[in-house]
Subunit: 288 residues, 2 copies
């Protein structure tokens, strides 16, 4: 019997089944269209396997509060038809299996913590910097949640004195995501990040904002490692600058691990979400 | 048999023994002088009781990393003779009992989470605003630690446009603690907080900084409740302003509990540290 995993992204759905070693037995991916059509394709895939549990990591915001009337639902999203959709309930009604439920960022964090860059460490922070910025923490193997899931991309940072961009977040304008996610680069320069020279000052701005955010997360969570994923983090200029700026902000007040071991790229690449889904499925099975 | 608790503050040591209901059977407090003299008084007190475990919450920085060579030691502190002192080891060598070890802020957080304002909630954040600013989080009954203990008081906040104070933190100048702890008030106005009119604009500055910090913690941890203790928080002008500012910063992006239930004063007052010490002692006993 297999674990099922759904990585429900805003543009792409990935479904997979895996064995007890979290190895992918088969996977399928397709565009995220309307909920009914999307789930029809997911169910057609999973119906072919004998599953023992399912783990779902979804685009957000989602309701992860146990006992809430809308637990398992997608929240307010601009994505047509998905707002207030009961994603977890739809899967559970179909299969009647133990099912784990969290955000897409959190299941990526879970897999990096369990079998990726954070393997063997107690406290793993995962941050993805792409179209948006999201963060998830895994403490002793468990996803960190409370009243709801974190929204680490929206913390406040200080403006760089030479950066006159107003910020792209529709809620907070110049929060971290507003100033350092991919769309902020395009809004400043009318070019995608991949087209921009590594010496361009925009990388200094982004590295400054990200270092400030990592400084605040460090002081709040004291993780053993911070895994930095997402398309924007692939820009070769960025991570070295962040590694230079973070110790300056800490100013020797607290100790962190050697910076090259503390700030790292993900290890699992494309399968991070899926593997995290298997782990979440296993946790749901264990807790049943 | 009793639980022992030590609340090792920088100026005052509190020792107590308690029963299984965390009720204080006897307590003693005395000034924190040199380590040898201080522990002599502590041992003279505890020697009179039959203990099963001890919990210690200490002023910091301290080493809480299991497996570290200096686990249980005080770190670099300006306090004479306490730097690099093996506080946990000294107690363990005397009594040979299971012993829990964390910061003074964390054991206060633990007691508020277990039997105080956060009772029954999964995720409790405790922040103390006094001579310094410190924070501790308790997730499902366990203190949040990773590579080390949090230093939440030192996160970065944005300067209030009308506040020209330079900041009092010797490491980061205008971090949260530098701008909003008690000494920042005295440095600005040459008066203690208790002497300052509730209408004075300094309360707007402090409330702004604290609201920004609570916003960042909220986005990072998503706690169920935030308990705000410490001498500065007793200023009647402060908490109402923080309650007004925080929702403005969130800007309806995420949901939080009703603000009067989300931001609260502590319930345990003087015994918070001691009760947290008993709970930490109990956890050490359970984990043995």
């Amino acid at each position: 019997m297999y674990f099922g995993a759904i990585e429900a992204g805003g543009t792409k759905f990935v479904c997979a089944v895996g064995n007890d070693d979290y190895e992918v037995v088969e996977r399928i991916s397709f565009p995220t269209t309307a909920p009914e059509e999307t789930l029809r394709r997911a169910f057609a895939f999973f119906d072919r396997f004998d599953l023992k549990a399912i783990g779902i990591g979804s685009f957000g915001p989602i309701d992860v509060t146990p006992g809430s009337r809308t637990y398992g639902y997608i929240g307010n999203t601009p994505k047509p038809f998905w707002g207030k959709f009961d994603l977890l309930g739809s899967v559970q009604r179909r299969y009647g299996l133990p099912a784990g439920w969290s955000t897409d960022v959190n299941i990526a964090a879970l897999s990096e913590a369990a079998v990726g860059a954070g393997k063997g460490l107690d406290s793993v922070l995962y941050l993805t910097v792409g179209t948006g910025i999201g963060g998830g923490a895994v403490i002793r193997g468990r996803i960190l949640e409370g009243f709801s899931h974190p929204e680490m991309g929206h913390i406040r940072i200080r403006r760089h004195p030479l950066d006159f961009f107003g910020g792209a977040c529709p809620y907070h304008r110049d929060c971290l995501e507003g100033m350092a996610a991919g769309p902020s680069i395009e809004a400043r320069l009318r070019q995608k990040g991949g087209e921009i020279d590594p010496d361009h000052e925009v990388w200094d701005y982004l590295a400054d904002y990200l270092a400030q955010a990592l400084y605040n997360y460090t002081m709040t969570l004291r993780p053993d490692i911070i895994v930095l994923g997402g398309g924007v983090m692939k820009s070769p200029a960025l991570l070295p600058k962040v590694k230079a700026f973070l110790p300056e902000l800490i100013a020797s007040y607290v100790e962190i691990p050697p910076v090259d071991k503390y700030l790292v790229h993900p290890q699992l690449a494309d399968n991070a979400g899926i593997v995290g889904g298997f782990i979440l499925a296993e946790q749901a099975l264990d807790e049943r």
